[in-house]
Amino acid sequence: MMQVNGLRSGYGQSVVIHDLGLQAGKAEILAVLGRNGMGKTTLFKTLMGILPTRAGSVRVGGEDIAGLESYQRVAKGVAYVPQGRLIFSTLTVEENIRTGLRKSAKGRIPDEIFSLFPVLFDMRRRKGGNLSGGQQQQLAIARALVSEPKVLLLDEPTEGIQPSIIKDIARSLKEIRKLKNLTILVSEQVLSFALDVADRLVVLDRGRLVHECTASEANAKTLSAYLTV
């Protein structure tokens, strides 16, 4: 579904992502692991078109989207939940979700979103900025989901979320994946969560892939070795 080849990107003079290759199949959940500052966020931003691609290609369903603007990538089926949430704080919860809606939805928010995140329904008239950190995170996920993506990019979705909801998120991600045949890329620091959701894991180190394994063959010891050096 998503195929990344020779991707390079960075900030100003510094290159953060070096010739990175990656692929994720249909309905696959791929966890991107890595310590702080290893380029997870940079990778996701580049995939989303927020940072320009210096070299390489990004294919979604066979189509190269590397040259496109963010909003065009959304139209091609990529959705993004940024690290730090970045919800629209003066818009209400409902409006926040509606920003992600496709034209075909005619302004209606699908019920399944609210059944996935009931707290958002209770708070739908409240300003996004007034929500608690964890609530904002759920809002950001909901906002991404309503654009009916083929590929969902989640950057550290568990940051600041209460344990029970982390479990819920893991569950619902798997559910959504099944329901919509969604490809999910999720970056994580917390190994347990990654092992819980992912079908496959990759480890990023200084902008390069240094390890790759399926969830079943994943070995917590080797992985944490990569993550704690």
Binding site: Y11, Q13, S14, K45, L51
Partner: protein, 408 residues
């Protein structure tokens, strides 16, 4: 001694900057320019005071005042009132119905000097008033606004409104203020004829010296903890508050300092130009003063001086050469500066001239030590989407606010 060198003069680069400015002001211009141009320059230097004050309050403090004309005007008016009283001695005003009061009062049937004019019979009181009146107003505005946490554009608009209020008031009370015409026909300062060529020279030099003194004071502030706190406040006001500082006090302080700069500029302006009018108090001049600072580089005290000179010379030159088209040039200049050199002349110096000099120096000393403090390269390319505030330690003043090495 060493701290003075470092904090006030700004180390080697900073000292050099000041020396260059002093050389330009005191050695180059007086000899290169005829007396008329030089007197124009003296006038521009007065505006430069405002611009330097704005660097402190806007560039460092993040407080954009669109009402600096108020303080410039108040300083100027205080000085003008003294000069006017001196020019209105009973002898030279004997044709009036009430001799001894300013002519415009006589035209407005005022028969005795209003009470608030009384102090301006004395030069010392006048000098005090020049500083105190604007400072007091700035203090009141500052306390009222900053304690209530009025900020950003809201504060800017409030200052703009105050500029408007004051100019409407001055114009409306023409019997006591001279109205739209302002206070004109000023002749002597304590008996000294301010209109003579020699007076112009002396005033020019005096302005230059005071300006440089002001810049040094500004540098001292910036290098002191106040400067760091201002930067910190602009960045994360909450954090400063939660480090135990009363943020409002610091804001009031820089605002008052900027007002004082403007007031001194205004007073010197009155002396050099020989009149003061409400057209300095209004909105347009206040915005122009901000532009001076922006063109010079809002983070650079010395840049502000160059910016003021450049804009005013540009205005004079273009309007002399193209009397009916010059607005295109000025408008274009502002747009270009903002678009191409967001850090003004100082930014231009640092991103282009200094590295170039450093390269040349480096080439000469190829095998000697590495070239001195080349500015850090700004790594954010246009187009990268991460929003990063433009480095507020704009290189222009970077030299004078060194990332100080803790002395071991």
């Amino acid at each position: 001694m060493k701290t003075i060198y470092r904090n006030v003069l700004g180390g080697k680069a900073g000292t050099l900057d000041v020396l260059v400015l002093a050389a330009i002001l005191f050695a180059v211009f007086p000899f290169a320019l005829d007396p008329f141009r030089l007197s124009l320059l003296g006038k521009y230097l007065c505006y430069a005071f405002v611009a330097v004050g704005l660097v402190l309050c806007w560039g460092y403090g993040g407080i954009l005042s669109l009402g600096q004309g108020v303080f410039f005007g108040l300083g100027g008016y205080c000085m003008a009132m003294y000069l006017k009283l001196e020019a209105s001695d009973p002898v030279s005003t004997k044709i009036q119905s009430t001799p001894g009061i300013p002519d415009f009062m006589d035209w407005n049937q005022i028969t005795s000097l209003p009470w608030f004019w009384e102090p301006f019979k004395s030069l010392p009181l006048t000098v005090i008033a020049v500083l105190l009146v604007p400072a007091l107003l700035a203090f009141i505005i500052g306390v009222a606004m900053f304690k209530r946490r009025v900020k950003d554009v809201y504060f800017s608009i409030v200052t703009q409104a105050i500029a408007l209020i004051l100019s409407v008031l001055i114009i409306g009370q023409q019997g006591m203020t001279g109205g739209v015409n302002g206070i004109t026909d000023l002749k002597t300062l304590h008996g000294w004829d301010i209109r003579s060529d020699s007076a112009k020279y002396i005033l020019y030099y005096a302005s230059g010296v005071l300006l440089i003194a002001g810049i040094l004071f500004g540098r001292f502030l910036i290098a002191s903890k106040v400067g760091k706190l201002l930067l910190a406040m602009r960045d994360k006001e909450e954090r400063v508050r939660f480090s135990g500082y009363d943020v409002a006090n610091f804001k009031v302080f820089v605002f008052v300092v900027a007002a004082l700069f403007a007031a001194v500029g205004g007073a010197l302006f009155t002396l050099q130009v020989g009149f003061m009018s409400p057209s300095f108090v209004g909105i347009v001049p206040s915005i122009e003063m901000v532009i001076f600072a922006a063109v010079g580089g809002r983070m650079s005290l010395i840049g502000a001086v160059y910016g003021t000179l450049l804009v005013n010379f540009g205005k004079t030159y273009f309007s002399e050469t193209f009397p009916s088209l010059w607005l295109y040039f000025m408008g274009g200049l502002f747009i270009l500066v903002v678009m191409l050199f967001p850090n003004g002349i100082a930014g231009l110096m640092d991103s282009h001239v200094r590295p170039w000099l450093a390269r040349r120096r480096g080439a000469r000393l190829r095998n000697a030590e590495t070239p001195a403090d080349a500015p850090p390269v700004d790594s954010s390319l246009p187009g990268t989407a991460t929003v990063r505030s433009p480095s507020p330690l704009a290189p222009g003043e970077g030299a004078s606010t060194p990332r100080v090495q803790p002395a071991h």
